[in-house]
């Protein structure tokens, strides 16, 4: 069963569609603002306010089409422009955010942040705002996303609904297009600007009324990076293959985690293990392990804001240039990410990973990668004696026991029993509970193809990860479907 396809670089051609009733589909304008206009407004605000000030601009232009049972049910066009002022009074910090670029509102945000800062205690590790930076190259935004039109997304979906129907399945999911503008200016003369785009496609194929379900998803900087028909076909194929599941007794089995499942795990690790704060708190399983072998040789995990295979972001929320940081390099624990305060506490250097202003000092890894290996999923299946092939997880939680990265979760949308190198039959969904710190010591094979999975709960951040084969995975219990 071919469950993973490398589908990049194949353009998803979407015809210009006419609206119902025969009229030409209306263009839905996206209200972006220019780099010059934003930076000029931020500079003027800092000049007028004086003192130690940092201004962060974020412009989000998001178009989302959600569908269920092979019909669109939500269409949304969202534009929001915010300015966040961070003001230092000595080592005291205050933050205020407004969604306006007007001079009056920017000054009001600075004033409010300054008043708040005066009430704070000095944060002794704060060494001031960043100085001027040199940034690495980042790709230009995709014009198809900047000019996004919901008619294009609908036009792309119509034939896929028909494809699903031919297999007596229905498609659920979402197509999301986002153009992000981000600028930072501070009173130390730092100026930073980045524009990025993202196309995100998620397909679940389901039997009407229950039964089987299958999933496929991918993301990239534009629709041209995604092959929507192949994704939909993969979801449908998985759905068909998941019909009539059998029970599997709880126990320890080999497991093949497809990229969507791996990405779920790696959505948690930046917070509980890869930040300066998590080490400071004793929550990270990397604490006291730096320089030692904590995973098998094929495991390399890193953050790189400039890697164009993901969704690049060349600087952090305070404008500091992002450094590539290797958390685990060929199985050896190396370092974690820091902002300026967490770096000082760890007697380290900031790595360009400051979280959004106002969050606790930490270090936020938002461009996460697991290095590719040599294996296809088919080769992993062929090398499995008794194990489970997992499409994705649901409701994964990594807070059970952070120092050992104890996680629990459920399988979802396609779990299959593999025996003697072949997929034998689908199984009912299973709950698992495993220490990810231990699981990294069980990785035998790493996939050669990686899939980009954007952060579900923030417009920033992604994990670009391959499939993994592990020699042991604890399944605790089953569910009814």
């Amino acid at each position: 069963m071919s469950v993973i396809r490398k589908v990049k670089k194949k353009a998803a051609k979407v015809p210009a569609k006419k609206a119902a009733g025969g009229a030409k589909a209306p263009a839905v304008a996206v209200n972006g603002v220019s780099r010059d206009a934003v930076l000029s407004a931020l500079r003027a605000g800092i000049r007028a306010a004086g003192g130690d000030v940092e201004l962060l601009f974020i412009g989000l232009h998001t178009g989302t089409t959600r569908f269920a049972a092979s019909g669109i049910h939500q269409n949304m066009m969202e534009t929001d422009l915010t300015v966040t002022a961070r003001v230092a009074v000595g080592r005291k910090l205050g933050v205020a955010t407004l969604n306006s670029l007007s001079r009056g509102d920017i000054l009001s945000a600075i004033r409010q942040a300054r008043e708040s800062a005066k009430c704070a205690q000095p944060l002794r590790e704060f060494e001031g705002f960043a100085g001027r930076q040199t940034y690495g190259p980042a790709p230009l935004p995709d014009p198809g996303i900047v000019r996004q039109d919901p008619a294009d997304r609908a036009a792309a979906l119509v034939p896929l609904f028909a494809t699903a129907g031919r297999s007596k399945t229905e498609l659920h999911g979402a197509l999301l297009a986002r153009w992000t503008q981000m600028g930072v200016v501070n009173s130390n003369g730092l100026e930073a600007w980045h524009e990025g785009t993202m196309a995100d496609a998620q397909f679940i194929a389901m039997d009407p009324g229950g039964g089987g379900s299958g999933y496929a998803a991918d993301a990239g900087r534009g629709w041209g990076a995604l092959d929507l028909p192949t994704l939909a076909e993969t979801a449908v194929k998985k759905c068909v293959l998941s019909r009539h599941p059998r029970d599997l007794d709880p126990g320890v089995y080999e497991v093949i985690l497809e990229p969507a499942a791996v990405a779920e795990i790696f959505a948690w690790l930046p917070w509980i293990a890869f930040s300066g704060r998590s080490v400071e708190d004793g929550a990270s399983f990397l604490k006291d392990k730096f320089g030692t072998q904590i995973a098998t040789d094929p495991v390399t995990i890193y953050d790189d804001g400039l890697d164009a295979e993901g969704l690049p972001l060349p600087f952090d929320f305070e404008g500091r240039a992002k450094k590539a940081v290797y958390f685990v390099d060929k199985g050896v624990a190396r370092e974690v990410v820091h902002d300026v305060v967490s770096a000082a506490r760890a007697k380290s250097r900031p790595t360009g990973h400051a979280p959004f202003p106002g969050m606790a000092p930490a270090g936020a890894a938002m461009n996460l990668f697991v290095a590719s290996g040599m294996s296809s999923v088919e080769e992993m299946i062929a090398q499995t004696r008794r194990g489970v092939l997992v499409t994705r997880f649901h409701y994964l939680n990594g807070l059970l026991n952070p120092p050992v990265a104890m996680f629990t979760g459920m399988t979802r949308d396609g779990a299959y029993w593999v025996e003697d190198g072949k997929v034998r039959h689908p199984i009912r969904n299973m709950r698992w509970t495993n220490s990810i710190a231990r699981a990294l010591q069980c990785v035998e094979l790493v996939g050669r193809d990686r899939v980009v999975t954007p952060n579900s709960w923030s417009p920033f951040g992604s994990a670009t990860v391959p499939a993994l084969k592990l020699r042991e995975w604890q399944f605790d219990s089953k569910t009814e479907f």
Binding site: K17, N401, E480
Partner: protein, 477 residues
Amino acid sequence: MKPALQEILSSLKRKKVDYADARYVDAMDETLGARDGVLEVNTRGRSRGIGVRVLWKGSWGFASTGDLTDLAVGDRALAVAQATAHASAPVARLAEVEPAQATWRTPVGKDPFAVPLEKKVALLASVSAALKKGKRIQAGDASYSAYKTRKIFASTEGALIEQEITECGGGMTATAAGNGTMQARSYPSSHRGDFVTGGWEHVESMKLADSVERVRDEAAQLLDAPDLPEGTYDLILRGPQLALQIHESCGHPIELDRVLGTEQSLAGGSFLQPDKLGRFRYGSGYVTITLDGTIQGGLGSYGYDDEGVPTSRQTVIDGGVFTGYLTSRETAAKMKLKLNGAMRADSWSRIPLIRMMNISLEPGTWEEDELLADSEGAILMDVNKSWSIDDRRLNFQFGCEAAWQIRRGKRAKLFRNPMYSGMTPQFWGSCDAVCSRPHWRVWGVPNCGKGIPGQTARVGHGGAPARFRKVKMGASR
């Protein structure tokens, strides 16, 4: 902003839309967080904008803008609906609702935004510093957040509703490290604390300083406590953990959009399918669960939802039998069910979804000391640490900060890393005792996620200590 909303809607009416509504939202927020006596989080925000929802020939479109002069946002919402109508799941009709002309405001004792910042900072700094003073305490954290949301809702049907909703809450956590582990205790709840609709008086009523010693001592004691041995025990749930159990295993599965498959892509579906309504035994006869947006102080309390439907009280589990859903105008019409005012968006920029208000386990008849005296050997858990449930809301697992075994009617032996698991109907079917009204209160859950793009709702859950028989438990080592 009323004239602007009316202008948007008048223009859409002239373009013969089936229906449209426009929401102006002015949302203020404030979050403070102190660690070990020093303020680390010190933020204020304000976000204003307009969201317009249009139904055109059975197809929905939504557009939003933060530019309050951008009245073309209505045209963009219409254009979105028109552009995708040929591929849409058509909306046959919306359930009838009387277009309200109304105002509603959260009763507030002390407006949290008017309380001097110095006073709030002083409380959090002193509490977090005191937590840190405990032996083996790695960090003491205390935090508070407040939200004030002014909304104007108008529709082409003639509704015009103004609301001001104020929410406030906080809490504290002591994190201890040693003996090869890290353990935390929180008060009154974990994951940012406990929240209500109301003012600063709620934070004052927590009396954080009075609980510092107990919280830091319990965190340190957990370092040396044994793991909860694997086995089957009777379970007493109370406080915020009972609230989260209700949230995940009852609140979410009764969301009718999820039931009908429209949230499948992120949050999954529900085992409570329509053929079960009115006949499925969800729990024991001791289990009656209500939805109620009218409870004063509940974090899910408000006047009207973001479709202009008044919030209400309904029974959704009646003596163990499943009897009701959270609905929207669209889903209520489709299933011929009652409206209950459950459609909410988390900002002006997002479309409303079916969200919980206050979903509560109704009180029973037991006194808490009688329940403990009658539960020899049972395990008691109260504050959440981790949560997980399958995509139809059946197989769940929860971890808690601490557990105690009950001996002679008292909390006796302390265990660390406790977790319990089960299947929703069997679990609620094993409930054989719920404590009485004096032990009942509403807990706020400030971080309920749903939708694409993700939205965060603030909801409430009432409950009194309850007992569940023969529950599978163990430890997350």
